[in-house]
C-alpha cells in the first residue's frame, strides 16, 4: 500500500488504483499493465493518490481477499478518495460487496475507458454509440443489481418486482431505438466509402496501439494540426484528409487506438470507427519503437489480434515511430526481436518529420495497382469535357492535340473501363 505524500493535499478527483495478479504471472508484465491503468486514469482526469496490489487467484465475492478490501476501505478513508478503480473486471456481486465495505464509487478498467470515451465524444454519432454501449453493459447487470438491492425487502405493495422488469424493458427499448438510428448512419458511411472509391481515391488508415503517435504521424504526412497529446485515447473520432501521392489521390484516416483486453461491448461501440480501418486499401500500423521490445511485441500482438480476421489480405505497413529517441544499434537490436511481428517496416520520427518520404514511397508501392491505357478522343467540346474528367480521376501522363486528342492515362481499372464506355458511347 503506497500513498504519495505530495498528492494528499490535492482535492481534485482523487482515485485509488487496485490490481490483482494471478500467481505465476510475469511481474514485469504486471507492472506494465498497472502503468497502463495509471495512464488511463490520468487520461480520464483523475489523480492517483494510492495504489493497492495483491497476488492471488480471484475471490468470487471481493476480487481481492476480504482483508485486503478492508485495507482498501481504510486507505479510502485516510485519503478521502471518491473513487476506486480496479484493473480487473468486476462482477456485479463483487462491485456490490466492495462498494458496501469501501463506501465509495467503485469502477473497473472497462468503465474507466468508457468514461474517457464519454468525456471526449464530440459528434452526435459517437455519443449515440457510447449511449448504446452503456445501455448494453447496464442491461446485463440490471436484473442482478435490482435483485441485490431488494434482497432484504419483502414482496407486495410498493415492492421492486415490477420495477425490476420495467427497468430492463425500458433499457431494451432504448437500445433498439439507438441501434436503428446508428444503422441508418452506417449506411450513409458505406455509400460515402463507395463514392470515394468511385472517385479514384485510395483509402489509407492509421492504426495502432493507443499513444503510439498516430496523430503526430497524421499531421506529419498531411501537414495538418490535429490535436496531439501524450495521453491515451486523444483521438476518438476518425479524422480524414486528402493526400497527393505522386499524382495519385488518397484519403488518410487517423483512428482510435487499440488497447489490450478491450471488452466486446466497447469494441462494438466503435464498430464504425474500426470499419474505417477494416475497409481501407492499406493500413499503416504505427508502433512506438522507443519502448522495451517486450512491450512493443505485446502492443503489436494486440493490434494484430484486432486486425487479423477483418482485413482480408489488405497490406499492412508497420511504421516504427519515435526512432529519433534511439541509437542505430539499439534500433537494429529491437528490430531483430520484433521483425516477425512487423510486416513491411518503415522507420520514421513523426515529430521531427524524418522518414516521411520513405514512408510515402512505401505507401505508393502497396496501393492497389492502377492500369495504363491510351485513349483517342475527338477534338471537340465533348472530347475536352472527357479529358477534363480524366484529369480529375487519374494521372494523365501524355496528351497530344491534333485532329484527335491522344491521351496516355493511368487510373483505377474501374475508371479506365468507365472512360472506355464513355468514349465508345460518344463515338456511336
Amino acid at each position: 500500500m503506497t500513498i504519495p505524500d505530495e498528492n494528499k493535499i490535492r482535492s481534485e478527483s482523487k482515485v485509488i488504483l487496485v490490481k490483482r495478479s494471478n500467481p505465476n504471472s510475469d511481474p514485469e508484465n504486471e507492472a506494465i499493465l498497472y502503468q497502463e491503468l495509471h495512464e488511463l486514469a490520468r487520461a480520464a482526469g483523475y489523480l492517483s493518490v494510492g495504489k493497492l496490489t495483491q497476488t492471488r487467484f480471484q475471490d468470487t465475492r471481493y476480487q481481492l481477499g476480504k482483508v485486503k478490501i478492508e485495507e482498501l476501505a481504510e486507505l479510502v478513508r485516510s485519503t478521502d478518495t471518491e473513487k476506486v478503480i480496479f484493473y480487473n473486471r468486476l462482477s456485479t456481486k463483487q462491485l456490490f460487496n466492495i462498494s458496501k465495505i469501501c463506501q465509495c464509487h467503485i469502477i473497473d478498467k472497462f468503465e474507466l475507458i468508457f468514461e474517457i470515451f464519454v468525456k471526449r465524444a464530440i459528434t452526435h454519432r459517437s455519443k449515440l454509440q457510447l449511449e448504446l454501449a452503456r445501455l448494453k453493459y447496464e442491461v446485463s447487470r440490471a436484473k442482478a443489481v435490482v435483485s441485490l438491492l431488494k434482497k432484504d425487502e419483502r414482496q407486495g405493495f410498493m415492492g421492486l418486482g415490477d420495477y425490476e422488469n420495467s427497468y430492463e424493458q425500458d433499457l431494451k427499448k432504448r437500445i433498439s431505438r439507438i441501434e436503428n438510428e446508428l444503422e441508418s448512419a452506417e449506411k450513409d458511411d458505406e455509400s460515402l466509402r463507395t463514392f470515394r472509391h468511385r472517385k479514384g481515391f485510395s483509402v489509407i488508415s492509421l492504426a495502432g496501439y493507443t499513444n503510439a503517435g498516430k496523430s503526430t504521424l497524421f499531421n506529419a504526412i498531411v501537414n495538418e494540426s490535429v490535436e496531439v497529446k501524450d495521453m491515451l485515447f486523444t483521438t476518438l473520432v476518425p479524422m480524414t484528409r486528402a493526400l497527393d501521392l505522386g499524382g495519385r489521390k488518397a484519403l488518410l484516416t487517423d483512428t482510435v487506438g487499440f488497447i489490450q483486453d478491450l471488452p466486446h461491448w466497447l469494441v462494438d461501440a466503435f464498430k464504425s470507427t474500426l470499419n474505417e480501418i477494416y475497409l481501407s486499401d492499406l493500413i499503416l500500423l504505427v508502433v512506438d519503437v522507443s519502448e522495451k521490445p517486450a512491450i512493443i511485441l505485446q502492443k503489436l500482438s494486440t493490434s494484430h489480434d484486432t486486425l487479423w480476421d477483418k482485413i482480408q489480405g489488405v497490406p499492412v505497413i508497420t511504421v516504427l515511430n519515435k526512432t529519433d529517441l534511439l541509437e542505430k544499434f539499439e534500433l537494429d537490436n529491437i528490430m531483430k526481436q520484433i521483425e516477425y511481428m512487423a510486416p513491411n517496416p518503415v522507420f520514421v520520427a513523426a515529430k521531427e518529420k524524418t522518414g516521411i518520404t520513405a514512408l510515402k514511397a512505401e505507401i505508393i508501392r502497396h496501393l492497389p495497382a492502377w492500369s495504363f491505357s491510351s485513349f483517342t478522343l475527338p477534338n471537340s467540346e465533348e472530347g475536352m469535357s472527357i479529358l477534363s474528367w480524366l484529369y480529375e480521376e487519374g494521372i494523365v501522363h501524355k496528351v497530344e492535340y491534333g485532329k484527335w486528342i491522344t491521351v496516355d492515362y493511368e487510373a483505377r481499372i474501374e475508371i479506365i473501363n468507365k472512360a472506355k464506355a464513355v468514349i465508345n458511347a460518344n463515338e456511336n
Binding site: 505465476n24 504471472s25 510475469d26 511485441l297 503489436l300 500482438s301 494484430h304 489480434d305 486486425l307 487479423w308 480476421d309 482485413i311 497490406p315 499492412v316 508497420t318 521483425e339 516477425y340 511481428m341 512487423a342 510486416p343 513491411n344
Partner: protein, 131 residues
Amino acid sequence: MWDIIAVDISGRHRIKKNYYMVCAAAALTVSASHIEKIKQIKIQPLWIKRDPTLLDIVQLIEDTAGQLSFEGTIVAERGDIYNKPLWVPEVIFSRAFKYQESIAERRAIELVHHISLSTRNLLINKLEIET
C-alpha cells in the same frame, strides 16, 4: 520468413463419456502478415476415456508434429494449452513453442483449426460415433 508448425485440436468435449479429439499440424513458412508456403499437413486422432490432462494434450501435439518432415516452432492457441502462461508449455515441449501472435500465425491457426474440425467431423461420421 520463418518456419512454424501450426497446431490445433478439435473435440475438447465429451462424447458418450469419452473424448474423441483430432489434432492437425501444418508445417508452414510465414512472413509477418502472410502464409508464404504450406509444406506439409498431418493429422492424429486420440480417443481417451478420462478428462485429458495438459500432458495428454502436449503428447498429442508432439506426436502429430513428429510426423512432419519439417522443423519449426510449434504455434498454438492459448486455449489449447489450458490458457497456461507461456513458460509452462515452453518447459514441457521438447521443441520450441510459442502462442500465436502475428497476423500470419493467427491465419495459420485458422487453417489448422478448419482441418482438425472437418477431419473430426468426417471421422465421427464414417466411424458412426454418435454425438
